[in-house]
């Protein structure tokens, strides 16, 4: 039975750029613009694939090796996250904490690359990103904890099975988990209130900063990695914190619908919300952690299971 699940996970490689495309198009429509089509990310990837790369002065092994390594990390992430409650047997296991580690590795490599080029904007952006990640990872681990409470394990398969059905929604804990994971989605995908993905002003960049120095195929790989990050986080969110039940096919349908709903929600938030001051972000994530801790406390205290 792992065949179809593996196919869907691998399909993620192809479908990943669809998500940012869908969010951009929805946002454009909400803002009364026609906007680019949903397939625009594919076109940019194709265009970048055929342009030549750039060698910034003093760039070394880390600079040239970063894009493939980041893309590899995200591919591993794809392999780890089960899609519809089932995972292909890629042998990497399905542990949530390993996923956190893999994303941290990608962040490390990108920050090191920005040090290699010595580009001020890239360094400023990675400094901000790492600062936010201090609080973001704490929140992510809290969200994982809440999802692990019913499953008694950090294995994503067990967690998504425990999250199946309606019973889980009766207690307040899961709702706290939803709020926490919503914030996690905003941090990890680098969406509006925390980071503006389509900004061109280098001083305000957080997620795109380290990408400044790249061009051609390197930039294509990094852009794909950004899209894959969307896919990993949204699929994970849908799997853990959106209601689903029934067999594999039903769950798969519900999962894809869930991802669509999340894209819509992200687009809505992006249109409504202006960008937050960077130094305020930790306070917001702190509130998320407090909500998650309260949720965990209620579960452990046995409230409303």
């Amino acid at each position: 039975m792992n065949g179809p699940a593996a196919v869907v996970q691998l399909a993620g490689i192809v479908l990943a750029p669809l998500l940012p495309g869908a969010i951009q198009t929805l946002k454009a429509r909400l803002q009364g613009r026609r906007g680019a089509s949903v397939l625009q990310p594919y076109r940019t990837l194709w265009r970048l694939w055929h342009k030549s790369a750039v060698d910034p002065q003093g760039a070394g092994v880390i600079y040239r090796g970063a894009p493939p390594l980041v893309a590899a990390c995200l591919l591993a992430g794809l392999a780890i996250v089960p899609v519809a409650g089932r995972a292909g047997s890629f042998g990497l296991g399905n542990d949530a904490l390993v996923l956190v580690g893999v994303l941290a590795l990608a962040r490390f490599v990108l920050a090191a690359a920005s040090w290699e080029t010595g580009n001020g904007f890239a360094l400023m952006a990675s400094a901000r990103e790492l600062m936010i990640s201090v609080f973001g990872e704490a929140l992510l681990v809290f969200a994982v904890l809440i999802a692990a409470l019913p499953a008694h394990s950090t294995d994503l398969l067990a967690m998504s099975h425990a999250a199946a059905g309606g019973h889980i929604w009766s207690g307040p804990t899961h709702w706290c988990g939803v709020i926490a994971f919503a914030l996690v989605i905003l941090v990890e995908t680098g969406r509006q209130p925390i980071d503006n993905p389509d900004t061109h002003l280098e001083l305000t960049m957080i997620h795109e900063g380290p990408l400044l120095e790249y061009a051609g195929r390197d930039l294509a790989l990094l852009q794909w990695a950004g899209a894959a990050r969307h896919w990993v986080i949204l699929v994970l969110g849908a799997g853990l914190y959106l209601p689903h039940w029934g067999g594999f096919a039903a769950t798969l349908g519900l999962r894809l619908a869930g991802v669509g709903v999340l894209c819509g929600a992200l687009a809505l938030i992006e249109t409504e919300q202006a960008k937050m001051r960077i130094l305020r972000v930790p306070a917001l994530l702190g509130v998320g952690c407090a909500i998650a801790l309260a949720g965990a406390a209620m579960w452990i205290g046995g409230v409303g299971i």
Binding site: A76, L97, G101, W115, R217
Partner: protein, 303 residues
Amino acid sequence: MERAAGSLDLDHLGGLLRRMPWTGGAFLVGCMAIAGLPPLNGFASEWLVLQSLLHVALHQPLGIALAGAAALAGLAATAALALLCFVKVVGLVLLGQPRRAECAAAVDPPPGMLVGMTLLALMCIALGLVPGLVLPTLAGLAPGASGATLARHAGMVVPGTGSYLPLPLALALAALTAALLGVRGRRRSAPAPSWACGQPVVAALSWSSAGFTKPLRLVLEAVFRPRREIEVVRGGGMVQSVTYTGHVPSLLDASVYEPTVRAGLRAASAARRLQSGNVRTYAGYLLGLVIGLLVLVYTGVLG
């Protein structure tokens, strides 16, 4: 590095990876291991600690469980902090342009000095890849180990919780990176200065450690409580010079150790008045002792 670059001040190094590949490589592996990045041993041990904290949160009574949950989040935040710190160290020391002439001329030390570092780096990688072999023996050492030894195999599979298989993960990452490198093919690339809004890149623009950690220090100002003195010298109606000195005082010393030591010494000097030098006072102590003991006997406290 001190031998080659002459100084260990982070802001006076740079670009050592290309010039000192062996030392730089070992240093990089070390930093990644400490920062707790997946294929290395740092992440393996961190993963185990996170799992144990999770179990504390799951199975202990409310108070301890909440503490476990808070500790879990705390550890994750610390891991991210470590990541920030060691990216900064790697960036300042190994990558970028050399900040001083000695760094530019740095070369790897003779093999004798390299063996130690490389051996340790290899052990970090080895332990990172197959922690499962060591885990059962270590678990057995724990006091009151219930003897239910874990099964011994390459990855770490803790029954009843997650599993972390570092070897396949590392192989997958390596294979995928190689594949993508192959797919990317020969890089047609043109040299270009790194982007600084069109300005020529000069040494003054290179970042220092203070800059990289500024966002964090701003955010955690309440905890660090940094002390900064800004001195502006004005002369002839013009600002002649502005000197900025700031440092982060270590909290524990300032708020715990120094007051205790001062209080201890003050109490000691007060107690020393006991030896006042006057023989009549000393005889008074003897009288007080005898009468005190007699009172204790009289009141029945003693015996």
